[in-house]
Symmetry: C4
């Protein structure tokens, strides 16, 4: 019978044989000998002050020539022990990769959640007045007042967007100006563009009712003041413009000012068609105010987590995009040639691609519909395949977000537990016994 | 070689070194000394009557300077042991948060499920006749008879709703009254409202066929009697009206009575246009009877769990709402300016927002459709993004509900196991050996 | 210091104190004494030949006054041990219900999968000729020949359905008969039904082209022969008609025969309008042949698992139904009153309910669409809520099916492993060492 | 008291009784006797150098007569130990199948992921120039240059597809030829086909604008050169054509050449109607270029994983197909007979099936819509059932893909960990202690 080697790891005794240990010669266990300080000659046992549970798995590796991961141990602890015993991670057998690398995912997510809450202004410790105002304007979670201020800001954004909408409704406009513009405009323009220009002019330049105009003006003034405050008080211009939403706010506010000036000086618009196009461009820029709604992410944590999850799902979003593009092209092209000889509404391939994408996403407007039997068969395949093809990457993004959501909840739970606020799940009967 | 410390926890021996234990000086293990009652001098071992599995993890913390959670242990037990050994929850290392805080979710859900079944009238122990009737009317799960009674109640609700529907169908109406009302009405009204008023009057006041009217009357009487019984017998009015459905029932019943009175005295309606509007308002209120269907939740447990899950998913529903609103505004505004110069049907921004929301939810009616190439490109992006953006919060709500559903099933299983009704999964060969 | 009690369970030593054990007086451990046969006086230890892992958890219960379930142990084993130690299942603490009752789900599913494959004719052991033919006709998985036969049967079903479709296409009909019927028919009928009757007659009675008719006749003969064989050979009539598909086949075949007779004797149809209605009813019955496609479940295991999962998801399907009905009624009624004064197409409440259900399921035909601003707002809410409300029960059914699918896969894996066919995942280096 | 048997497995002592062990007589444990080399007479104990954790479970089997699987052990290790102790896999009790066979799924997936990356040209070790070019052309992941080359290739494919689209747009065509063709064509053709032929000719043969034509020509030349290079350099023709995309490229390129020849010699087209049909066929073949987009899978790993997952989900895709087909037939047939007497647009059964499939997938174009009350009821059921029925198989495919995606991520993590690139998750405080 082979000689038994006794190893005591953290109090648990393991017994094995010499030939078992030599199967991986370059590891700590294989090089063990009786001259080591860990060897206790009195009972012929090696004593190690390490974790016995991980060691059990590691010793099993010497027996089976495969390293399996005990699922209940945290992978980080196992890696630590593997380093101690001199076993590289590449020894981990294939069947255990799933559980062994799972923790990396969690840590990646917690890292990213930490980063997104790190860059905040409120982290600065001792603050003077300027810094405190900056924190107030920049971080809604810094104080109750800041939260209320941001809610008010969002309200103004909402009013401003509402104004944008109401402007376009017939009822809220007074129409004296239209004839003058249209006649004047039309003369300076090439015939082909005339119709569009008149429509543009008639819509953009119409006297919005005064109530609308003054509300708009009030919003612009508010945005301007808020931006100037931020710009003056911010520690550096770089930090200010690194925030995507600040840059958007600056562009939108400038555009809104220009639009207002046009609105009060409509003669400029009538002067030339260049002005009409300039006005249209400014109008487009001023629409960016809609994006200011994303300031909500500062107050509403779930939205921030959602945006974070989307940001880190870049590969999956790309996959979604690629799937949609390839499927659209394939089905669009096939459908065009199938429907071509019939009296279908698919006159060119772009229309059939439009049909394909609207079918793939199961929106199905019904403005373009195949009319041949073969076309309908392909459309059926397209709609089922669309369901499937879109579900695949969407499911991955969804599961990413779900992970972020759950980790973010865990983080909040940990913060609460650490702060001692959440004692309710503590077992009650033992509270008296702590450190008695 | 360092001196070995022997700790016997619940029979399992752990061996470590003094310097390992001193790494966290403020804990019970660091302050251990040979004068403690737990120290047994005969074999130089500390004896603790605690759980050995949790202690293994805690001792590992002293070695690795990181506290990892052994996944197989219930987190509640671990917290209990951590309290005993004087280790705060904040020591738990980041990689184990997932498993360590998972149990809180389960307990939260079981708490909420317990609450929803706690407020029931049937919990009162010794009941007099009044209380027993109250239980009968309030809690369908209290007895078989109560269940049948509630089914009958739901049937009446269904009949009442059917009457509501049939009233609106042309066939079930007799039309002698219309000319009188319309001519009479029209005179008293401003010209602009005339058309609507006539249509309203013609629809609301038309003689519904007698069968319909008498069925309606029967339903109203039934509801009235049921409500009065409940009101008289209920221990306190506060409890009665705290139940949302009772409040709804009261409003709906009163409105139904008023409508019936109008129905039998149509001359009042013809007298003035104020009466027409009053009648319309009452009609709206009487429609609330549809909500009485939610009484089904009392009988049908799954529906109750669903409503409970929705109630606790408030944050996720808010996220869904915010996602939809932001995406609608962004896409609506963009689409309006893109489609504006074309001959599109998007005349104002509200229509383009209507288009956006119908596309985002992939409903796609097709009544408003982009017609330009750029517009269609944006529509494609909108439909894919809609799929994605709605899937994210919906998935979280769905997973919440799934958790509630599973916990509710577990609860039922536990109740069955406790009541001894579910012995079928008990191993058979050992039943004889219990407590022999 | 309290006296230590030494318990050796399956070789693992546990040490505890007397007062710990007496906390649950009615259990086996509390009643332990030195006179038991398990007590070994030589080393003052109780020896039990039980599982040490489960005992660790049970002993912890005496210490913490809460029974926690060690997640890695199979719950069935734990229950077994709990019985031995005299601990009822109701002691299991709430936080561990999830893992403790999880296994019941798996066993329920495996039970149902076993039942669905148990009732098969092929289980009979020693078979005579009649039984063998019965197995051949009833169970496609009994032999390769039976599989081919069932594929051929499905092909005939497909041809028969194709015939059903082609009959309705204008091209495949010859039209001499129509005038005779329509004129004849119309005379005997009340004026209001005339139009429908003519259309019915013109469609049902038209001479289908001979190719169609003879194919139909061939199919009918095939079905008849198959059914007669089954009926003659089947051990009992009860078993034969208990199979839902056999009953369907009988009805469909009889109806097909009658239809064929009508087809060849069209004068009967022209004789009276009763005959026209009888013919229509028979036509409806003969359509049931479509359901014969479900015979595919016998060959295609996944379809069988799907049907099984749907069958056991009855509660969730009911929930889905209830959700759809309540949401349809609520939104339908609200929308009717909102859209009522406008020039909408929602003339009665059934149309607005039709709109509601088509919007809730995000189908969105666009035939009925709200036109007022408020109506569109409600429609937006309806579409988002529909997405959510339908997703909830569907997700539960889906997860049920996924469980069935996975368990069915596990079962196949086990069968393969048991049959020794699936050795590829066996570790190779140890195969030689088995039972040496 | 029964005699106790002491078994020491890997250092852990197990104590049991002889009668316990004999319950499974054909296993290694039952045949144990004191003459074995494993028996140590000095302390009356059997010593085995095996895994103690697995042995605990196996010994429990002798006690409970059921083999339960300890969830934390890797199933592969357990199988290894079961082989050693002579216990067949079929002994595994039903409640543990789930965890016991779970690992097979993971290994199956990793196998398939390995196969898909095995067949690559880049695996060849020592390469000569020809081989290196082959690797460069075949495997984009072999080098940075190969990646860039493949991106450029995809760009050309994109341009080629764009040309395909632009050709079909009215604007990009010059129209002198149309009259000649149509008049000429029409003479040679049967009257019924004339209209289609003219439309075909007018579309296919129109002078595309020269810019379009020359871009097309450039693309064709590029594809030809790339294919010839590949064909010449490839080690064997079999390998070349085994790649599905190469075969597609060859067909598409040949067809594009022919089309170009037709384009520059339009007189041939006018000569006979056979030529028109030939041209149409060639046009169809040249459309296959769209499939070349799948070359993207070589660069974009996620797409490859998606295709792999779809390939192995064949059974589930078949199930999806069967579900759709059966549901379409059932609902199509029912709806036809319901809607038949009304003035519906469902004239034949193929149209009602088209309606059914478009409703089942919730696309809902709205071109065919039921108009009767009963028809709408069936449509409601159809849309809800469609949602459910499609969700079931799609969910399985999605979960398959999710598994593939996660395993593919694990694989990448393992590669990184093995390469030593990913040290960031290594615990830092212990790095110095490795193998000191």
């Amino acid at each position: 019978m082979a000689q038994r080697i006794r190893i005591n790891v953290g109090g648990t005794l393991f017994i094995t044989q010499q030939e078992t240990l030599t199967s991986y010669p370059n590891t700590r266990l294989a090089r063990m000998n009786t001259k080591m300080t860990e060897y206790d000659a009195t009972d012929g046992t090696y004593y190690f002050d390490r974790d016995p549970e991980c060691f059990a798995s590691i010793l099993s590796m010497y027996r089976h020539r495969e390293l399996h991961f005990p699922k209940y141990v945290c992978a980080m602890k196992m890696r630590n022990e593997m380093q101690f015993w001199g076993i590289p991670q590449s020894y981990m057998s294939r069947c255990c990769w799933k559980t062994f690398y799972e923790v990396d995912e969690d840590i990646d997510i917690l890292d990213k959640l930490a980063v997104s809450s790190d860059g905040k202004a409120s982290d600065v410790e001792s603050k003077n007045f300027k810094e405190r105002v900056w924190v107030f304007l920049d971080d809604p979670s810094s104080s109750q007042a800041a939260k209320i201020w941001h809610c008010f800001y969002l309200l103004v954004v909402f009013v401003s967007c509402l104004v944008l909408c109401l402007e376009t409704v017939e009822k809220f406009r007074v129409k004296p100006f239209i004839r003058h513009v249209s006649s004047n405009c039309a003369q300076h323009m090439p015939t082909t563009h005339r119709k569009v220009a008149i429509k543009m002019a008639s819509s953009y330049c119409l006297d919005a009712s005064p109530a609308i105009l003054y509300t708009e003006a009030a919003c612009v003034v508010f945005f301007t003041v808020e931006l100037l405050c931020g710009l003056v008080i911010c520690p550096s211009k770089k930090i200010f413009f690194k925030n995507f939403l600040n840059a958007v706010a600056v562009i939108a506010t400038v555009a809104m000012w220009c639009c207002l000036i046009f609105e009060f000086n409509k003669e400029i618009l009538a002067s030339s068609n260049r002005m009409v196009y300039l006005h249209a461009a400014l109008k487009f820029a001023s629409v960016l105010r809609v994006l200011l709604f994303f300031r909500l992410a500062g107050i509403f944590n779930s939205l921030q987590v959602l945006l974070q999850a989307l940001k880190t799902s870049a590969r999956e979003l790309l996959l979604l995009f690629v799937c949609v593009v390839i499927a659209t092209m394939v089905f669009g092209v096939i459908m065009y040639y199938i429907e071509f000889p019939s009296e279908s509404s698919m006159n060119n391939m772009f229309i059939s691609m439009w049909w394909a994408v609207i079918t793939l996403t199961t929106v199905g407007y019904g403005d373009v519909v195949p009319s041949t039997i073969l076309g309908r068969l392909v459309a059926s395949v397209c709609s089922v395949l669309g369901l499937l093809l879109l579900a695949l990457p969407v499911a991955i993004v969804v599961s990413n977000f779900a992970e972020y959501h759950r980790r973010s909840k865990d983080k909040q739970r940990h913060l609460l537990a650490t702060c001692g606020l959440r004692q309710k799940y503590m077992p009650r009967n033992n509270i008296g016994t702590i450190l008695k």
